[in-house]
Structures are given as C-alpha cells and as structure tokens.
C-alpha cells in the first residue's frame, strides 16, 4: 500500500467513528420520543400519516403483531414493485419507451428490494423506466431500510424493558425512521452528490457527437431484433461508423443517496457506483462510502443509549471495527499487489506518484486501488451491495474478503438495523458459550438467556449458511445454474458461491460475470433473499418478545460483563468461528484454489 492509500483508509475509519456518537444520540431521541427539533417542523405530517392510516401511535404491539405488521407491509410493497415493473410500458415517466420487465426478473427485483437486498438482476439504464426507479425502487430503498431499523429498535426494547408485554408500534417506528432519519439525510446527500456531477434530470437520454469518429462491428439483426448467424453459427457483424454517443441520464442522485444510506445498494445504472454519473468524483465516492456504514455504526451508540449503558454499544462497535479493519487490510494489499499473470506481459503495476498501479481491471482511475478495496469491504460489511469496481475481476484473495464478509452473516456493521440485531444475536450466543464454560446460566444485559432464546438464536445463525450452501450446491449441478457461469475454472464456482452468499445474506453485490438474469437464478436467488430476510427477522422479534417479559437480574460476581475487551474478543471469536467453520470448505474450492493457481501461472 502507498502512504496516501493508507491515509485515505485511516481518514475514512476516523470520520466514520466520529459520526457514530452524534448521529446515534439523535436516533435514540427519535426512537425514545424525546424532542429533537425536526419533530416540531414535520410533526404535523407525521400525525397526518397516522390519522389517514388509522394508526393510534400510543398503542403498542406484542411481538407477534409487530411481526405481522412488518410482514404485511413488506408483502404489499413487493406486490407494488412487481406490478410497476410489469406495467411500466403503459405508465408515464418513461422517455426511452422501455418495455415491461419479464415476470421472473420482476419477481426477483421485487423480492430483492422488499428484503433490503437490492441484488441487481436488471441493467438499470436499459431496463427500468424513471417511474419504476422512483416509485418502486426508491420507495423500497426507504421503507425496507426503515423496516429493518424498526425491527432492531423493537429488539432493543425487548432487552431494555422488564416484565413488559409489548415492544413498540411498528407503524410509528417505520414512519419516524423514514421522516426523521432517512429522509433528511438522503435529501442533503443527494444535493451534495449533484454538486459533484451525479445526474438528476427527468428528460430523455442526451445525444452528443463524438470528437473522433471510430468504426465498430455492429451485430446484424433481423427486423424483429434477432441476431443473424453466419454459416458457422456465429453472429454476423458489419462495419459501422460510430459518430454519436447516447448518454443515459435520469433522476439518479435522489435514488443513489438513499441506496447508500439505507444499505440497499441497487444502482440507478448497470455498473452501479462505478458509473461516473452515479459516482463522479473522489469526494462523491467518499460521501457515498460514508453513507454505507454511518447509520449502522451509529445505531450501536443508539443501542447503548436505549439500554442505558453506552459502554455496551461501544463494545459492539469495537468488535465490528476490528474485524472490518483487518479484512480491509487483506483486500487492499491483495489488490495493490496486482495480477502476476499480467506482470509477465511487461505491464507496469507498481504504484508511483503517477499512477496507482495494482489490479486495475474493472476499476476506475479516479478511485484507484485504495478506494476500490475500501468500497468492496464496506459494501459487504454492511449489507449494502453497491459497487464502485467490478468484484468479479478482483484478485482471488481480494474477492475472498467481500465474499466472506457476507458469509459472516452481515453483522460487521451490517444492514441498517438488521446488522446490529444480527450482531446482538451473536452476543447472545457468545454469552451462552461463556456460560457453558463456567457452568452458569448465561445472561445478557441482565436478561437470563434460556432455551427459547437459544433456539431462536440458533435459527438466526443457521438459516443463512443453509440457504447459501444448499443454493450453491444445487446451482453448480443444475443445467440452468451452470449455463450462465462466465469465467472458467475455480473462478466460475466463486461466481455462484458469491451470488448465493449475497442473496442469502441480503447483500446484493455480485461477481457480475454470472448471467443472473435468467429464470433459474431470478427464481432461486429471489427465494433465497426472502428466506434470509424474514426467517431471521421473525425469530429476532420472538427473542425480543420473550426478553421483554423477563425481569432484570442484578449483576453478581458470576456475571460476565459485556462491555470489556474480553467480551469484545469473545464476540469476534464467535462470529469468526461460525463463519470460518461453515464456509472454509466452500472457500477452499473457489478463491483459495484460484489464488494458488494464479501463483502457479506466474
């Protein structure tokens, strides 16, 4: 790594941690109903929403009602996203006249956005009308994130309350998250992004005459758009002059701001935040990167405030940050080392003051190695899934890092809300393991952890790996699964493993060479996303409901304190152990063997 590269990474982590406390304190005020300024301005709007939708904000819910409300709301959202895509050709705000999206792709995208995964099976600018981008995708970016944060807040209430039957009101948590947290942050970020060159316009795609005319091989097609094949079965081409460039634009900034903040990640354009109109400058890149993790990191502080012991929040944040920094180092060093196979061809991959060197395939010059590795690590730590470089072209170990971060269960910061509730379930497992070692009933924050909580925690930990590994196994033997693998050899296996790791942990990034917009992958990954989101959220809420009913046991000499460095190490150990033991065999077949092959081809 270059000195400047390290400086950029350090700057990022420092700014991220510095923002955790102020933003976290603000969010705690929003969720605890204490005054915070903005409620005076938007309060009437909030109350209007409750009145029209028949919600009594002071009426709290049991965990079951809370879960039903969340599921029903998500299901209604899923139907709307599906419908808008299928009907976009007859709806307004479609200046390019894009046709209806296919049924399987529409289902995949609907599942993807409702579950906060935002797997991008579609190619933004070539598929989605402006109306679909806004009314289907942007809306879900807000509300699926808000639903995740609501679930977390309900879970925290379960930990904080004693002898209580209720864990909050879903509609209130959802509305307040959207109005007071995500909305204002997205509005500010969107405007700043445009100042850097991110587009925000409702007009049709712009056309320009290029400076130098070039020629290219244009595929010959029949009048109905099918390719014409020559006698050897290859598509025929003819020489054509290239004089024009069509620039895809659209209302991008408003969607990009929330896709970053809400750990959604579904891009406006096909290449997501590698696209200059989606991520124009190093500053826009820094802000989009910050937006990926800032809410998830700050929620740790919110958690501390709400359980009336901020040290608990800092301990969890410390565990997350340590794992993040360690894996960031691996990714950055691997990418900077470059590709030994290309070194053989006499290319200069050595960093200097004049270029960043390293593995530049699939990366943008303005971001270079440090910012591409940082993004890949951040986007998979959080369940964001946006990209600013093509992960499929990363070096084997550089690609292993994002893959493994997803497989850890998206708990290193994680998705907004879902990351922290996942991590708190790991904390429950950690105190349970510690309790086994000393032969005491484990407790977390004064709540006894008993058989019911452990059963639910085990479900949360086990479902994603099951979805990932079984899904991958089916795909690599099924005809439909093998047909669209792009890269040969071990890397091809990595593509499939990455896809299911991404869908099965609600991330959404991809080794994008894999042709995933097929009926097989649209369906398989669509179901993987649905399982992974709701089969985790429901047991989590069940734990919340059970914990809320319990009394708080006063700490005694035998209580394991959960704010100490010892506990941070224990928590990290639990996360790593579960992730490593579950996925090592699969990783060995993909990135690890490819790394060895690459060294052998030197």
């Amino acid at each position: 790594m270059t000195a400047n590269g390290i400086l950029q990474l350090v700057l990022y982590v420092v700014v991220l941690l510095a923002l955790a406390k102020p933003l976290g304190a603000y969010m705690a005020r929003v969720y605890e109903g204490r005054p915070f300024g903005l409620d005076r301005v938007l309060g009437p709007l909030e109350r209007l929403i409750y009145r029209l939708s028949g919600v009594r904000p002071d009426q709290e819910m049991s965990w079951k009602t809370y879960a039903i409300a969340m599921l029903l709301f998500n299901f209604a959202g899923l139907l709307v996203v599906y419908g808008l895509q299928r009907l976009q050709h007859v709806l307004p705000l479609n200046p390019q006249g894009l046709g209806a999206v296919s049924p399987d792709s529409s289902f995949n995208t609907a599942a993807s956005f409702a579950t906060n995964t935002n797997w991008q099976g579609y190619g933004g600018e070539t598929t989605m009308s402006y109306l679909t981008q806004m009314l289907a995708l942007t809306v879900q970016n807000f509300v699926s994130a808000a639903a995740g944060m609501a679930t977390l807040v309900a879970f925290i209430r379960g930990l904080a309350r004693r002898s209580a039957q209720t864990i909050g009101n879903f509609w209130v948590d959802l509305t307040r998250t959207t109005l007071y947290i995500l909305g204002p942050l997205a509005l500010i970020l969107a405007v700043v992004l445009v100042s850097q060159g991110v587009v925000q316009i409702f007009g049709a795609y712009a056309k320009v005459n290029v400076v130098q005319q070039t020629s290219y091989d244009e595929p010959v097609t029949t009048p109905d758009g099918k390719p014409v094949l020559d006698e050897k079965g290859r598509p025929q081409t003819k020489k054509s002059a290239l004089t024009e460039q069509v620039l895809a634009v659209g209302p991008a900034a408003s969607q990009i701001a929330i896709k970053q903040l809400g750990t959604n990640g579904g891009g406006f354009f096909n290449v997501n935040s590698a696209h200059p109109f989606e991520n124009a400058t190093p500053l826009s890149n820094f802000l989009e990167l910050l937006a990926i993790l800032v809410i998830s990191a700050a929620l740790c502080y919110t958690f501390g405030v709400m359980v009336k012991d901020t040290r608990q929040g800092w301990a969890v944040l410390a565990a997350m940050t340590i794992v993040f920094v360690a894996l960031l180092g691996v990714a950055a060093v691997s990418e900077q080392a470059g590709n030994p196979i290309l070194a053989k061809l006499g290319i200069d991959q050595q960093a200097s003051g004049l270029h960043s060197g390293g593995n530049m395939e699939g990366k943008e010059v303005r971001f270079g190695i440090a910012n591409s590795a940082l993004w890949a690590t951040a986007t998979t730590s959080a369940s964001n899934g946006s990209v600013n470089s093509m992960h499929d072209s990363f070096t084997p170990l550089g690609g292993l890092v994002p893959m493994w971060l997803m497989q850890l269960g998206e708990v290193i910061y994680g998705g907004v809300g879902s990351g922290l509730y996942g991590m708190l379930v790991f904390a429950i497992i950690a105190v349970f393991i510690a309790g086994l070692m000393v032969g005491r009933t484990p407790e977390y924050l004064g709540k006894k952890i008993e058989a019911y909580e452990m059963k639910m925690s085990a479900l949360v930990i086990l479902i994603p790996p099951a979805v990932v590994l079984i899904g991958t196994a089916i795909a690599v033997v099924a005809v439909g699964g093998k047909a669209t693998i792009f890269n040969p050899g071990a890397h091809g296996f990595s593509e499939v493993l990455y896809a299911f790791s991404s869908a099965g942990n609600n991330n959404g990034s991809a080794f994008a060479g894999l042709g995933a917009n097929t009926p097989f992958y649209n369906t398989a990954l669509g179901f993987a996303m649905l399982f992974a989101r709701y089969w985790l959220a429901i047991p989590t809420l069940a734990i919340a409901g059970s914990l809320a009913q319990k009394k708080i046991v006063p700490a005694s000499a035998g209580t394991l304190p959960t704010h100490t460095p010892l506990f941070v190490v224990l928590l990290i150990g639990t996360v790593i152990l579960v992730g490593a033991l579950t996925f090592f065999p699969a990783l060995a077949l993909g990135p690890i063997v490819e790394h060895l092959q690459m060294l052998a081809m030197k």
Binding site: Q8, L52, S53, A69, L72, F73, G123, E125, L135, T138, F142, V143, A186, V191, V194, G197, V199, Q200, I201, A206, V208, N209, V211, Q212, T214, Q245, V246, A248, S254, V271, A274, H275, P276, T281, P282, L283, N285, F286, I341, L342, D348, Q349, H355, S356, E361, G362, V365, R366, F367, G368, S389, M390, S393, T395, N487, H491, A512, G513, E594, M598
Partner: protein, 191 residues
Amino acid sequence: MLKVLRPAIVSLILLSVLTGLIYPAVVTGIVQVLFPRQANGSLILKDGRPVGSALIGQPFDDPKYFWGRPSATSPFPNNAGASTGSNLGPTNPDLQKAVQGRIDALRAADPGNTAPIPVDLVTASGSGLDPDISPAAALYQVRRVAKARGLAEEAVRRLVERHVEGRQFGILGEPRVNVLKLNLALDALKG
C-alpha cells in the same frame, strides 16, 4: 389481521408518494437551480453544440489523439447507454488475451517505445465509461501523439501536465487526466 391491513396499505401509499414522488421532485427542483450543469450531465459545449460529457469517456483509436481506458461495453466501446465492466476474472485466459491485444496495438502505433505500459491503459475500466487515465498513462502516449501531429514532444508534455488533476483536497482519490478534455485542448493547440 384486518386491523393491520389498513395501516399497511394506507401507509405504503402515503410513504410512496412522499419518498417516491415528492422527494425526487424536491431534489430535482433544488439542484436544477443550484447545479444545473452537473445535474444535466456535465456536458462540454464546443461552438454551442455538445461534444461530450466531462464525466464520460469517448472512444479514441487515432494515433494523434490520446487513448482512454479500454472499455468492455457492447456493441461498441464507451457505450454510455449500457454501462458494463468486462467481469473477466484474474486467471481467465481471455483476460490475458485482451491485455496482450491492447499492448500490441499500443506498440504498433508507437514502434520503438519500450517503456513499460501503465496498467490502467491496458485493463478495462469498471464502468466501461471511465473518463480518466493516470498521468503515467498520458505521459506514455506523449511521444506518439507528438509525432502524429508534428508537434514538439515538450509542447505535448506540457499540455498533459496542465491537465493533470491532483487528488481532491490533496487527499482523496488518485491523480488523473481527463482524456476528452485533453484531446479537445490538443485540437485547439496551434501547431
């Protein structure tokens, strides 16, 4: 269940209007006043007509122009209507073949230049639309461009150096040269 159904549907409708229509419209309204040039795609005008966007790379293969990053878009490079990377894995033989082809093209256009080629000049960008190359990649091409235009190498080198954008605030990102702007300046240069 029914008690939950009404809030589910009504609040979805209300939040959709708020975040899916009002929010994008408000953002558009603000930025069309504050930053209209950027919001509309940072177009570069020459004699009143747009010749490109400052943020989107264009294809160049004439020796008298600086060439940009290779692009994997189809059916032609730098297709700004369908962005994509190559997605070639590091051990894929097609990657090696593609890179070798680009090396050959660069060498053929500038025989006798034996300097090692900077990696960004022979690897496809992430978006297929990268507007920039590294300063090293621009300096590598100075000799060829000067020769093709009958200009002094020194004059072309100075032009490149004037077009190097440093890191933002001295820290963020990487130094870079915008190929389209450089080539437009080159065309405007009186030999």
